[in-house]
Symmetry: C2
C-alpha cells in the first residue's frame, strides 16, 4: 500500500484490505441453468463475491537471458524495488540500465546526479523509441550525455555476467563492467489470474474489456468482473483498434470506472490518446496519440508539421526553447499525434493537443478553431503549437 495504511481504508472508507496475501485461485463459472459459482481463494480462505475487480497490474519484462537472477539485478516498479536499489547503490559505482524509455532515462539522470557511472543500453537507434520520434528524442539523449550518462545504442543486452553477483553485462557481444543492472525494459500485463478465470486475452497480450471495463469470456460479457490498470488493453482514440495505455493517469481513470461499475453504476471508459510527459533535468518531453513509429507499425500514412519557438514572448526574460511536432493522418487530415520538447510548460500544452485529438479535428479545422491564452511571461502571442499545425497544413 502506498498512499495510506490499510487501517486508513478500514476507518475512512469501510474497505477491508488484506495485505501480504496472494490470491491463489479465482472462479467465475456459469452453469447451464444460469447458476453462478463465484469466489476467490486467498491465504487458504474462500471469499465469495458479487463483483470482482481485477487490478493485477503489469510486470517488468525481463529478456530471457542468462544471469538475471544474480544479486545486483533490479527492476523499477515498486516502492520496495526502489528501496532495494537505494540500498545496493551504497556499494555500487558503475550502473548499467537496460532500456532507454522514460523510466530508464529518469533513473539514469538521477544516478548521474549522485555521481554514479551510468551506461544506458538500448536495442533501438534512439531513446524513448516507441512513443517519441527520433528527432524529438535525440536532444534528450544529447542532454543526458552532457550530464555524463553514456549510451550504447542499437545494442541488445544479451546476458548478465557474474559469479556471486553482477560483475558485467554482455551488450551486443561487448563485456561492460558494472556493479548493478536495472531493467527498465517495459511492462507486460500480468494476466496469470485472468487466465485462470478463463477471461479473453486480446491481441496485445492484455485483457479485453468492454467500455464499461467488464471482462469477456469466449466473447461473452462477464457482467460481474471489472478490470482496470496495466492488465487491460483498451480502444485507441487515434486508430480503429486496441492499444495499451499503461500510464498512472489512465490507471486512475480506469480504477474509478471499474470501481463505480462494480458498485452498480454505469460509467464508461473512452478511447485513449494516452498523453505522457517526462521531466528529465531541465528538459521536458511530452507526447500524445501516435508517434511516427507507432503509425508506421499500424500502417497509418502520416504527414507531420514542426515548429520551434519560445515558452514566453521573445522579449520576456528567461524564455525557454520549445519544439512542437504534430502528426496528422494523410488521408483524413485528422490530428493523430503530438510531441513537445521544451524547457518548461509542456504538460498543459500536451493536454491541449490531446483534447484536440480526442475531438477529432483535422489540421485545417484546428487552425480555424483552436485558441491559446496569451501573456508574455507564459506564451507567445501565437503559441508554438499553432505554428506546428500551420507547418503541417502546408505539408498536407
Amino acid at each position: 500500500m502506498i498512499m495510506h495504511e490499510p487501517s486508513w481504508y478500514a476507518k475512512e472508507r469501510n474497505i477491508n484490505i488484506i495485505t501480504e496475501t496472494k490470491v491463489e485461485s479465482a472462479v467465475n463459472d456459469r452453469a447451464q441453468d444460469g447458476t453462478m459459482t463465484k469466489h476467490v481463494v486467498a491465504g487458504g480462505k474462500t471469499y465469495e463475491y458479487d463483483s470482482l475487480v481485477l487490478a493485477t497490474g503489469g510486470k517488468v519484462f525481463i529478456p530471457p537471458i542468462e544471469g538475471t537472477n544474480l544479486p545486483g539485478v533490479f527492476t523499477v516498479r515498486t516502492v520496495k524495488g526502489g528501496q532495494e536499489i537505494e540500498e545496493y547503490l551504497k556499494k555500487s559505482q558503475k550502473v548499467a540500465i537496460a532500456g532507454a524509455g522514460v523510466i530508464g532515462l529518469e533513473l539514469a539522470l538521477a544516478l548521474a546526479n549522485i555521481g554514479k557511472d551510468v551506461t544506458v543500453i538500448e536495442m533501438m537507434n534512439q531513446v524513448i523509441p516507441r512513443i517519441a520520434d527520433k528527432d524529438m528524442a535525440d536532444p534528450i539523449q544529447e542532454y543526458l550525455e552532457s550530464k555524463g550518462v553514456k549510451f550504447l545504442m542499437k545494442t541488445p543486452v544479451q546476458g548478465v555476467i557474474g559469479t556471486d553477483k553482477v560483475e558485467a553485462v554482455n551488450a551486443g557481444g561487448n563485456k561492460i563492467p558494472c556493479d548493478m543492472v536495472v531493467f527498465a525494459t517495459g511492462v507486460r500485463a500480468n494476466v496469470d489470474l485472468a487466465k485462470e478465470l478463463g477471461l479473453d486475452i486480446g491481441q496485445l497480450g492484455a485483457l479485453c474489456v468492454a467500455p464499461t471495463l467488464q471482462a469477456y469470456k469466449r466473447g461473452r460479457l462477464c457482467p460481474d468482473i471489472f478490470v482496470c490498470g496495466d492488465v487491460m488493453q483498451c480502444q485507441s482514440a487515434v486508430y480503429n483498434g486496441p492499444t495499451m495505455s499503461q500510464l498512472g493517469s489512465s490507471a486512475v481513470k480506469e480504477g474509478r470506472v471499474a470501481g463505480a461499475n462494480a458498485a452498480g453504476k454505469n460509467l464508461q471508459f473512452g478511447p485513449v490518446a494516452s498523453p505522457w510527459v517526462s521531466i528529465i533535468g531541465d528538459q521536458q518531453i511530452a507526447g500524445t496519440g501516435m508517434s511516427l513509429g507507432l503509425a508506421s507499425w499500424y500502417g497509418v500514412e502520416t504527414v507531420t508539421g514542426k515548429a520551434t519557438g519560445l515558452t514566453r514572448a521573445r522579449y520576456y526574460p528567461d524564455a525557454k526553447k520549445m519544439t512542437v511536432k504534430i502528426i496528422a493522418d494523410k488521408n483524413t487530415h485528422r490530428l493523430i499525434g503530438g510531441q513537445i520538447l521544451a524547457g518548461e510548460e509542456a504538460t498543459g500544452r500536451i493536454d491541449w493537443i490531446t483534447a484536440a485529438i480526442l475531438s477529432g479535428v483535422t489540421a485545417e479545422e484546428f487552425l480555424i478553431r483552436a485558441e491559446n491564452a496569451y501573456c508574455p511571461p507564459t506564451s507567445q502571442v501565437r503559441d508554438v503549437v499553432f505554428a506546428a499545425v500551420e507547418d503541417l497544413v502546408k505539408n498536407l
Copy 2:
C-alpha cells in the same frame, strides 16, 4: 511599429508602410450599375485599393468626467504611452489606477514593486470583474494587498482634480491625493473610419464581420473590405451570439485570416472562447469562455464545479496550489467556461479546457473522454481540472 522597422517590411516582405500618416477618409461605394469606387485618402494623397484591411484597433475608454486632460493622466495601450508613464513616474510617488482588470492589476504590482504608493479604484465589488468570478479573483486582490497595493472597491472615479497637473482623484466623493492617474478602464472598438465607410456596426459597438472577416454594409457583404483586431465583434463559441475578443492572441489569428483573404484565399475565423491568462507576481489567473457574471448577463443558467489541488504530485517538492473552476450550461450540460488560479502552469491547462469547450463536450463526456499527461514534477495523477469537472457533474 513595434516588432520591426518599416524598412524591414519593405525589404523582407515587399510591404510599403507609411507611418505618422492619418487615413483622412475612405470610400467603398457600389453604383447602381455595379461600378465600384474604392480608395482611401491619407496625408493628402489618394490610394486606390483592391482589398482594404481595417485594423484600426481599439481605444482605451476614459469615462466622461472632469480633469482627464490634465498632465499626469495616462492610459496603457501603446509603447509610447508606456514610455510617457515611465518618464512621469520619476517625479511621482502616489499613483491612482482606475480599473481593476488584468492590465490595471499587472501595472499596480509593477509600480508597488518599485516602491510607489498605489491605489486601485474599481467600480465593481471585485477585481477582474467581467471575466473572472469573485471567488477566483478575491485571492488575487488579497495577494496584491499583501504587496502593499490599496484598493477602493465599489467606487467610481468621478473626476480628476488639479490645476496644472494631477493632484488627486475624486473617487466616490472622496478626494484621494495622487501624482498621476492611469486609466485601465477597458478598450472600445475604434470605428471612426468604419462609420465613414458606412459599414455595419454590431450590437456590441464593434464591426460586424462574416466568418471570412469581411465587413457588411446594410446587411450586404463587402467582398473587398476585411477586418481584424479590436475593432471587430465575432461569434461566441459558448453562446449563440456576438462577443468581443480583444486579446492579442485573437488579433493575430484574425490578422492572418483577414490578410490571407484580402490576398485571395478563403480562410475562416471560428467562434471564440477567448482564453486569457495574467501573471501577477507569483500568482497566475486564467480563464476561458463565460464567467458567471457574463453568463448571468447573457441569461444563461449555469452549474459550477470547483476543486483545489496541487500543480505537482503531493509528495514532490515545491508544488504550488491550483484551484480550477468549471462552468456548464445547466440545460445542455455543455462546458461553457473555466477559470484557474495557480502558482504555476495555468496557461496550458486553460488552453486544454478551451479545446474541450470548443469541441462542445458535456461535463459527463469530459469525464469519460478527457485525459491528462502525468509526471510527478508537473501534475497530479488525476489533474485538478478533472477533479473540478467531477465536482461539476455531482452538482448537475
